[in-house]
Symmetry: C2
Subunit: 717 residues, 2 copies
Amino acid sequence: MMIMKGASEDSMSGLSQLELFFRPRSVAVIGVSATRGKIGHEILRSIVEGGYRGKIYPVTISAKEILGLQCYETVSQIPGPVDLAVYALPSSLAPQIIEECGRKGVKNVIIVSGGFKEVGGSNVDLETEVVNIARRYGMRIIGPNCIGVFDGESRFDTFFQSRERMVRPPHGPVSFITQSGTYGVAFLEEAAEDGVGISKMVSFGNKADVDEADLIRYLGMDEDTRVIAIYMEAVVNGRRFIKAVSEVSAKKPIVILKSGRTSLGVKAAKSHTGWLAGSYQVAKSVFKQAGIVVAEDFEELYDTAKALALQPLPRGRRVGMLTNGAGMTVSACDAAEQRGILVGTYSEETRKKLEDALPKFALVREVVDLTGSATSKEYKITMEALLSDDGIDLLMPFFVFQDTPLDEGIIDVLPEMQRYGKPILGVYSRGIYGREVAKKLQMRGIPFYRSPERAISVASYMMWLSEYRATIDKRAIIKAPEIQVDAGKTHEVVKSALSEGRRALLEHEGKELLKSYGIPVAESKLSRSESEAADLADSIGYPVVLKIVSPDIIHKSDVGGVIVGLKDRDEVRKAYRSILENVKKRTPEAKVVGILVQRMAPQGLEVIVGGVRDEEFGPVVMFGLGGIFVELMRDVTFRKSPITEFEALEMIREIRGYQALRGFRGQPPVSEKSLARILTRLSDLLMEQPSIKEIDLNPVFAYPDGAIVADVRVLLE
Amino acid sequence: MMIMKGASEDSMSGLSQLELFFRPRSVAVIGVSATRGKIGHEILRSIVEGGYRGKIYPVTISAKEILGLQCYETVSQIPGPVDLAVYALPSSLAPQIIEECGRKGVKNVIIVSGGFKEVGGSNVDLETEVVNIARRYGMRIIGPNCIGVFDGESRFDTFFQSRERMVRPPHGPVSFITQSGTYGVAFLEEAAEDGVGISKMVSFGNKADVDEADLIRYLGMDEDTRVIAIYMEAVVNGRRFIKAVSEVSAKKPIVILKSGRTSLGVKAAKSHTGWLAGSYQVAKSVFKQAGIVVAEDFEELYDTAKALALQPLPRGRRVGMLTNGAGMTVSACDAAEQRGILVGTYSEETRKKLEDALPKFALVREVVDLTGSATSKEYKITMEALLSDDGIDLLMPFFVFQDTPLDEGIIDVLPEMQRYGKPILGVYSRGIYGREVAKKLQMRGIPFYRSPERAISVASYMMWLSEYRATIDKRAIIKAPEIQVDAGKTHEVVKSALSEGRRALLEHEGKELLKSYGIPVAESKLSRSESEAADLADSIGYPVVLKIVSPDIIHKSDVGGVIVGLKDRDEVRKAYRSILENVKKRTPEAKVVGILVQRMAPQGLEVIVGGVRDEEFGPVVMFGLGGIFVELMRDVTFRKSPITEFEALEMIREIRGYQALRGFRGQPPVSEKSLARILTRLSDLLMEQPSIKEIDLNPVFAYPDGAIVADVRVLLE
């Protein structure tokens, strides 16, 4: 079932092979019907009617000529060389015909047909077989189960969506990689209606061969592409994907929408961190860590890609707003507040200037309301004033284009404002006429939105990317994209646990491991008798807590295996006996190693730090507030290891409950540096100890001057 | 500044007067220019070109004839009676001219002009003056600062948005009340593009006279209106609004979008509940309590109103999905999971039936994927099977209309499916052709959405309304819409605090108040000496907590005024002395009444219960998880008093952290009934004690078999 990637994947020749998907000199369409509406027929018609200038070979046994083109019964009968074959026959015939393509010397294949992996059963193997055949001949495959490609410049596409039903967009700066053909169609339609240009689109469905990583590298080199948008359902080989991203994202913005978000309910929960592994939260955190803008739905994906393609990034979070109808700006201000965007930050001087220059009906407030009487003249005055103000980073003009006083001079006035070099995002109040005007303005570079909330989302993503780029040298992504494993470093406690066939470390072993990485743990010692426990408690200092140590007991409290707040020898001895009795009663079969005597950590703010070897992204670390916040609110964040201190601090600051760390109910703020140090060290530990599958430091108590791990659970593999 | 409502507001004659806004027999437009693009001119043109059949009188001194109509210099010169005057002159002239309208016998006035309250300063009084003039003559006013009205049947509108720029929608079942003219325009444009009919639209801007309550009552009687949509910025007289809603919402769905959400940051926080008063959270909770569907943005408002107008309510939360392109359904399933909507709940029998009846390419899974090869025939087979299945409450078909195999037979097939009586919401993958097909289908009754998330939102609102209506007899809204105040019940502790000029109760007074309403409090007694404290502790039982009692100390812990966990007489005596020392040191000026000795409540789940006299909605009660959840997460919910036990339980169950009450980390679930009892009793207390401004029961400890209030803060007014 394993498919080996060809050696050429990263090479220039690999990239130029991908180029042939979009600009083939010749194309064979395999499985063409003479009947309109049939998929093969419509693909051929799209190629013919789109203006493609290369050679076209319909392959079919059902006709001699279709759409004025001579048909061939087999691929081998085609007279000239074939750069691209588009396959539209049933999946069962694929191995035979792809083999034939290989023998013919076809360079690349797009398999539009479904009936492969997505169906399950033996069709999974069928897909593997086809890919292996292609590899043998050095052919690359897009698909199966897809609609193929679109090239804005060559006007080549392989869609079975006819031009009567689907408008193709103009050529331009946005490229789109999508696992779903449906979203591919929707994206291009939106762009066409907006007059926004597309460089390339790829729908690769099951992505049996060519995947996101291939295409990101390719589009990274593509001069026409300024922004890459991605729609993804399943993450496959996340580390490879992130590596490709990290090579490109500093030059070209990448925006992603990830759907197919895992249902966590069905997972067996072992550790907290393990429970969340493979979840959307992990993917989202790791994407952002790599500098990818993460959209939450399709509209955000398209909206943001459009803005990033057309406009520069803002330098800060301060937005200037003006309008000829207040309603939408009220919504915009609500949304701005939620996203930490500031409105009305222009200077007193600008305010006076506007009040002098504008007619009496204008309201110069946080939002400049020019009212329904506004003409393009008032817009111009206001936009110039706001854009020249140092307190404004981004201009957001709102328009009720339906308001009759507003003259069409605005179509010239607004695009001129780009001379200030600040980003501009327009919002309009819908309607057919409104869409027409907005389209004209978009074709002159100003992205437009029908919804104030959408425009604010886009602004916030632009701000996020701008802030990310400003701190890129403080991030680990560029410095250490690959895992460094030093097997020699495998820790003794891990070795011995593995040699005994254990799948988990005992608590004192886990603590020893943490200590060796410089992570502060609550001091504890293992006792094997009542009196030893009392002696250890004396030497550690009171109050202490006693905890059962057994390889068979994971949830210690549930079996009465933990007693806290012990203040002297007598209490310790009594607790020792109680624990043994409890354990004997409730889990008589459990093997008891001893009882841990631990100095009680003073009550601090409870947080959780975790690590897990994620199936797709490898080692990732997690941070969150403790207890209920992890389990009920899922208020946690992740990063792929390795991480820098900067990234660790960013993790700490991005959880929703961060305010709790800043001091709460009169408590002093806790030391974020100390927590960050635990995170970076745990990240190192995960990188160097490949046998560790999951690790929970829970709880960790955070204090104004430090932090200490009170308990740890380590699962091995 | 107070404006008295006319006596006629609730009467039938009041309603028929409102009718004359939409269907006047004659209309005067005051302030008409001969110049195109001017507001007065465009209003006249809209009335003339819209097909209005009554008499039209342009009033202006600048021309003798405009658009073929004879002009009049003043209202008094108009020969016949005038039902409606539309005012478009500067605000400063309004008093004089509205007075003239009154003398002329004009029935109603729409003031389109701005320059009133929204400008501030003396213009606020100008607005009041104008309203008072109108009241004297029995005229009703819509506006100022608005675009007026639209009537779908009479085709009368007062918009200065010309027909070249703004398409008017057909006549139909949706009415829209809006504070923003911009959203009014956007709403009608959307409806026009969708082919969805509008009965009436009112933009009332500053709503100086006619407001939501008036219009809800009017539209409640309007036979053409099946659904009322509302856009609101400021809530004014919330109780009156809710009363009108409660008269209508059981018959006609009401959907609201509330913007202008208060920034809480700037508020001085006294109690937790007081801090949140006047917030969007209060309004949202109270709206829902009254059966209003609360939309989160304009698109949800329009989308939901459309669905409620066209389709029946679902009986449950189970959605059947089918598609010819999988991408959008993956997003839909993500969104469904988030909103507690079930997908793929049809029977095994239906699955078999579909597998037999459909071609091999179809994937019969949770979502039935007919793939890009689907025709209307496969859609029909699948929709019939799903709709006949008892496990499906709502059908959500997805369409890539661009896919050429899908024939236009679907335009007949889909509407036929309404015969099953289950709601149907369609989703399509955008584009010009897609919009055309969707419009045809919408005109035949099936609402369509461009986004899977939007369709899922709409479905969830329909489900919510269905569930609300099923439980309406268990709610307080119908039984007791008005506040019952029995002044004789004013509690002694409140009386004596007020007589001493205090603005807050002391803790032991607050607890006495709660006890008299049957709310369980942690037992406590006031001591005035060290030995009395020790004696009280003996009689109450250990462990105890000591707390300072002083009218000058609100935050007791901050001054060292609380010591917990005291186990015997000696500890109590020592603590007594410490507290007095602490207080003397840190707030030497504070008057000390004594020290409260309280039995320490066993640690339970910490929740907060509160009450506040909200400026707009009157007494409201609050529920939330304790501590950090209130302050950082704002995970709280509200209800307007009075509430029933059913509503109290609903409050408890709707907070995000509700799982914590159901048992957490091996803890048993807490008694929701006990918490509900505290809520209903606090609600009664608020109703009967009008001097109580804010009250926080915080913390309340919840246990498996009860709940107890550990501390209370009561502010008076």
